[in-house]
């Protein structure tokens, strides 16, 4: 006779509730995006869209440069992600494995900048970009975060520290230099954490509103968050269009997550990060 696993049932119920709370807003967004404009406001968000209409998507696609916004976001998030993966890895190796005077002070000092709210550095950063003539350019958009962030470097450094030093020593005995060690020994072992970093960076950058708002002006650099945000009027909002645009903006993120999901789960299992 097996006992009914009450604990297990309770656990699954709690997990299910958690899943509903996290997933429901996305499903409601997706669902409402297919509703007629008048229904968006008059029917509950969870009521299935009927009749289903693609009009919102068509309107958002034709009236606004959605394709352009998505492309600009893709360039912005893509380059920042590539930059962060490369430079965070290098910095993490320096902070985690090399020894030089003042290493820890430098690291913790750099990490401490995480505590400074973005809004404080906003105007100075804007002034710097203006001095370099980078206002309303992709370079101005990308530079502040492309060379790594404290968070990314911390993430990778902590992971590097879990890799046994002996592996590296063995490679050095075989005549490998620092770059070879980094690329041939550490990187292959670090794929899960790099995938995690890439995913987190991509999603964060994709969702950033404030910096693009301040530093870009024209349609040629307008990213998708700004495009959607502009649809929000002062007192009224065209929710049918906002929801359709949001649904479109969500798609690339879902694709990214599905691609890297395996690595992310594994990296969490490996590092014990919770």
């Amino acid at each position: 006779m097996k006992k009914i696993p009450i604990k297990r049932i309770a656990l699954y119920l709690a997990l299910f509730a958690g899943a509903v709370v996290s997933v429901a807003p996305y499903l409601m967004t997706l669902n409402s995006a297919f509703k007629e404009p008048s229904q968006v406001l008059t029917t509950p968000a969870w009521e299935p869209a009927f009749p289903v209409t693609l009009e919102n998507f068509a309107q958002v696609w034709s009236q606004y440069d959605m394709a352009g916004f998505l492309l600009h976001s893709l360039v912005y998030a893509g380059v920042v992600t590539a930059g962060q993966v490369v430079f965070s890895t290098m910095a993490a190796y320096a902070f985690g494995r090399m020894s030089f005077p003042g290493r820890d002070a430098l690291f913790w000092g750099y990490l401490a900048t995480m505590m400074v709210p973005q809004i404080v550095t906003l105007v100075p950063l804007f002034l710097i970009m203006r001095e370099f003539g980078l206002i309303d350019t992709y370079l101005g958009l990308i530079l502040p975060t492309a060379f790594g962030t404290p968070y990314g470097i911390f993430l990778v450094r902590q992971y590097f520290r879990t890799i046994p030093k002996d592996l590296e020593s063995a490679a050095r005995i075989d005549g490998a230099g620092t770059l070879t060690v980094l690329v041939r020994v550490l990187l292959p072992l670090s794929r899960p954490i790099l995938a995690t970093l890439a995913t987190i960076t991509f999603i964060t950058t994709w969702n950033t509103l404030l910096w693009p708002l301040i530093v870009t002006n024209g349609d040629a650099t307008r990213v998708v968050t700004l495009g959607i945000s502009a649809l929000k009027g002062q007192y009224s909002s065209q929710y049918h269009l906002i929801l359709a645009a949001a649904a479109l903006a969500l798609l690339p993120l879902v694709v990214i997550f599905l691609l890297f999901q395996r690595h992310i789960v594994r990296s969490i299992a490996l590092t014990g990060l919770k």
């Binding site: 404009p37 008048s38 360039v75 203006r130 992709y138 492309a146 770059l179 502009a230 649809l231 007192y235």
Partner: protein
Amino acid sequence: MTGKIALSAVVAAALLSLAACGGGDDPDATGGAVTLRYAMWDEVQKPPIEQSIREFEKAHPNIKVQIELNNWNDYWSKLQTQLAGRSGPDVFWDHVSYFPKFSKEGVLTDLAPLIARDKVDTSVYDSKLAEGWKVDGKVYGLPKDWDTIGLFYSTKALKEAGLTPADLDGLTWNPSDGGTFVKTLQKLTVDENGKHAGEAGFDPKKVKQYGLAMQAPTGQQDWWNFALQNGCALQDKPWGRWTIDQPACVQAIQFVQDLRLKYHVAVPATVTNPPNGPSLDQVVGRGEAATAMDGSWMLRAFDTALPGGGFGVADLPAGPVGKGSVYNGLTEAVYAGTKHPKEAWELLKWLTSERHQKAVAQAGAVWPGIPSLNDVFADAWKAKGVDVTGFKKAAEGTTMGYPLTEAADVYNVKALDIFNQVWLGQLSPQDAAQKITTEANAAIK
């Protein structure tokens, strides 16, 4: 090893190519043509404005106009950051609540010499609106549009209560028993058992539809109007001291609180309090309220929420001293630090011209800054079956301008917090009035 080098090469190449394609906006590099940045916040107005600006560009082949649209909140964050960085847009929309600060900081171009030089006829604008933008003989903007407050109603809700639009005419309110305004709102307030507010057995906790919805971060769409109708002046004079602690003002605040907490005819503050409450076109569109006090700039929003004759507009009720509405307008302003003052002035002249404002009015976007074009706007809405002339009557009647004060920042922040508490019943109107008056006056030097 090779993999890593290849990757950094890709990054470097990407950065370089982006640098190349991102920097092409420098006007001087494109053979004498100038690109002007024109910043605005209203999505609804953009299409007709853009169309008219294309005509402007045709008439001025050396000028290109780049419209920069961001929503109200983002607009001000961005504008203020860019002005701090001396990189503001060449021409932009200005609002009275930010104007005093801007005029003091010197970020606005004084248009007076240009107006005199080009002999621009400023008598076409309503002087009540244009005057507010003058400081010491300097003119910091020309009127773009105007707005007043009206009572938007759902035709369906009215019909269900057995009322006609005519029943909303000539309503009055008073601080003691609420008058016919409250009586009518009671008829429009229904609980889940079909009982109306004021009836025996009415359950204020289970209301299906409220008579009225109100929402105003500053007071513009709610209590300022009642204050005016009750003989209260918010300030002793323009640019003067706040006088909200006067009895006539406190009574008006009390009345708005009573509509919610005593008469139970207005949507509770838990739903409507700004900045997170849904906008009122949605509240009425969802059938949670039968009417809403809102500004004329909301017409297009109500038309989307309640299409096909689903809504109408009635006058605000009259108070103890009569009728009255807040009357406000935006201006087009030129950035003092613009690199192209000549072209920016040309654009501003176009935006405040009869031709441009007529095109925008025809689209039913906003009442035009030039009053002689008012009928164009009214006719655009008449064609849709909505009579909007009440807004115009309100503008021509007793009005109160948006308060002009150097304490606008402080007032805006404090008022939002203080009055949200009053509407929730957590702060008495008397205490609130005292608090906002003291704190806003303390910010005046």
